[in-house]
Amino acid sequence: MVIGPAMAATAEKGLGDGNDGNRSEPVHWITLYDDLGNELKPGEKFPRPVSMKNTCGKCHDYATISGGWHFNSCRVPSDQSDPRVGEPWVLRDSATRTMIPVSNRGWDGAFRPEQIRLTGWQWIKQFGTHYPGGNYGEIPVDPDSETADPEAIIRQPISGLYEINCLVCHSADARQDQGSPDGAAMQVARQNYRWVATVGAGLGTVKGTASAIDEFSMPLEPDQTSLKIVEKITTTYDSRAFDPENKVFFDIVRQPPPQRCYFCHSTQTQIKKTEQVKVKSAEQEKIEQRQVDRTAELDWITDEDVHLASGLTCVDCHRNGDDHMITRGDTEQENEGRGAVSTLSCRGCHLGDETADAEAARKGGRLGAPHPRHAGIPTIHFTELSCTACHSGPVPAKEPEMVKTSRIHKLGLHGKHAIDLPLPHIMNPVFVRGQDHKIAPHKMFWPAFWAVETKEKITPMLPEDVAFLAEEPLQLTIQSEDRVNDWRPMTSEQIKQTLMAIQADMPEPEEENAAVPQAVYIAGGKVYKLNQTKPATENTEAEYEVVTADHEAARPYSWPIAHNVRPATQSLGAEGQCGDCHATDAPFFFGQVAMDTPVAEQGEQGWTQQPQTAAMVSFQDIDATYIGWFNWSFVFRPMMKITVLLCCAVIAAVLVLYGLRALGCLAGAVSDEW
């Protein structure tokens, strides 16, 4: 193994852990190892795929790394919650009109996988394409466990473990392939988890699809399956990548370039324009005004974050040590007594951290960050608003932009497995008061799901369970092209029938006084329930109607955004523009957030939907009447300023006038004495 000058071996750490101080990048001409721990020989018959755990783990502490932010959500205890809400995974199913925010971090509004009976195996199947491996993907299924997923017991020996793919982030090689038709994501789609890193790194090609392999064609023993599977899913290594000693050069960087982060952390604004469109029907051809999606054509006009534009990279601020606990830019993060970490936040970097030990950290201006003057901004803004409120995301508009994100909408997949997922409709920015009691721009969407309510507690149902129970009322067998606002629409009557179908399947509580579980549907900020209007008799069945109510679980899910940061001149309130937020119709407070829902009415003219909106101020813990009046006062503010300045001028003139007269009088009196 050839290792560059930077790495120094220590007794406790791996060869690659830590840093001896040399700032050059270590060269990685390395031997590859397979998942059995054997040295990889590309020329042998049925070679096994490369294992990052065994290859990188030779020099790096894999166990420590696997505790990092990207890989540790499966380890969060179910009673532990992280108050810092983030982007969730979204369990989606357009057929059952389901959009469930999922996270194991205990974020407010998101459901833990176990709450919706989503096993680790299912989790990987749902979200594995935009994911660096490890976490749920690396938990071996225990066949003897009562809670083990039967599918995982059978399929995991075939697919293998989805180990951390270090190259997803640390490869600077432009051939690192996550999203192409033959790339890593395709291996995930095929459940070829064991082969993801091999294909992603471009080391070779893989033929075979794990999900298509009949488990009965494999040996009964899982260990034997693991050994034999490489004969069915074959790996052909690119011999050019190996040197005569079977070593491979990996272009590894300590600081990943932004392009690596972007695969999972991109946001794309949906650009829609109202245009005249020719609409042809059987009888006539007419021209209508319609919203046309121009995202693909106009994506090039969008800008990147001002920090990246000025030469910084993501990891300049989002740093980590061996533990891979990447700093998240919190102003409240631990100082560690040096200010070295706290000054990796907006406030710390630009303004400094007064509590820091180091003089430089107290001064701020890290990495050349300019010190903001905030001229004319009353200081209350700094206690009420996060930095991002004025500086990040798109400039607020009357209606927030619609955006797609890499992970939720699976952006970045090309070719035959590219998918266009319009839902969920994520609105950005919506100004919401966060857990730190500051108003910040958030991304937001309205969850929609079928659930069971017991004693006010709502537990979502998995889409496949709903589909099984309510195939008919949800018209799942009918291929319908009808769409309302991208949703497959659904009437109140369908909701009623679906709720009745789910309710009918619910077991009666065993105890006499136990709460009766009730089927509910959540969408558009409301919970839909059945209300009995007529009790059942001997000859007739009970009659129901659907009623709506408010519920905590129906609230929109939102998470704060930090990027893209706009240039200072484009920040809200720059150059004394109070009206950016304090105009009578300022979007910051009065922007209208559409309450996205599939519920619509079907009439002779087709599907119609009454759009409902919520003002942004309703998410800010501020009285809307008050802020309305307050913003009205800004209409008169220029007059007030001029009036008071004129008054001050007159008072000053009187003071000068009588001051001079008094001086004259005094002078006269003094001269009289002489």
Binding site: R373, H374, A375, G376, I377, P378, T379, I380, F382, E575, G576, Y626, W629, F630, S633, R637, M640, K641, T643, V644, L645, C647, C648, V650, I651, A652, V654, L655, L657, Y658, R661, A662, C665, L666, A669
Partner: protein, 213 residues
């Protein structure tokens, strides 16, 4: 800190007013019976009405003076009470009331200052008082002089400027965060001094009125 200073300063000034009232009574000895106290209060109240003998300009002047006092009272209550009693910064509807009455006060104060400047100008009498003060012959200064009333008038006129300007200037993009903090502190402390001076001035005006009656 500011709350403590404010509370103590106001208590001390009010205490001085009370001590002065009893130490230097105006006119004959006060009737401390129930009826006497009621009559006294009615008398004080009537001082806020417009005198029949005033001219139109005089009536307007007094009206403006009264409105200025009312605005000042509202500004004091909205500006100091949340901080001193509730311990919270000025915000919400209280802030709006404060900001609404501030320009009204500025206009009324300006008119009152213009209107009363001539009456409150320093004359040879005050110069005599100053001379006597310098020769340590200040007997009757505390009881019979108009120096205090005039002095507080001009002091209040001077103090209105930093109080008003510190807020108005902060609304322009001139001062950064540190400057904003300093302007806010200046506003608070100058307002406190203005309150103390105003208490003294109103007391001395009423005292002069009693004396005239």
């Amino acid at each position: 800190m500011f709350a403590t200073i404010s509370i103590w300063a106001i208590i001390i000034v009010l205490g001085l007013v009370v001590v002065h009232w009893f130490a230097c009574p105006v006119g004959q000895k006060r009737d401390l019976s129930f009826g006497g106290l009621v009559r006294f209060k009615v008398h004080v109240l009537t001082m806020f009405f417009l005198d029949q003998k005033l001219t139109l300009v005089g009536k307007l002047k007094k009206l403006v003076y009264m409105v200025a006092l009312l605005c000042f009272l509202i500004l004091f209550l909205t500006g100091f009470v949340p901080r001193l009693i509730c311990g919270v910064p000025l915000s919400g509807y209280t802030l709006m009331i404060h900001a609404t009455f501030a320009p009204v006060f500025a206009v009324c104060a300006m008119i009152a200052i213009v209107g009363y400047a001539q009456q409150c100008r320093f004359t040879r009498d005050e110069l005599d008082w100053v001379e006597r003060l310098m020769r340590c012959r200040c007997k009757d200064l505390l009881c019979n002089s108009d120096l205090g009333r005039k002095l507080t008038f001009w002091l209040a006129a001077v103090l209105i400027l930093p109080v008003a300007l510190s807020m108005i200037v902060s609304m322009y993009p001139i001062f950064g965060t540190k400057g904003q903090e300093i302007l806010f502190e200046l506003h608070r402390y100058f307002a406190l001094v203005l309150v103390l001076v105003a208490i003294g001035h109103v007391y001395l005006v009423m005292r002069a009125k009693f004396k005239a009656d």
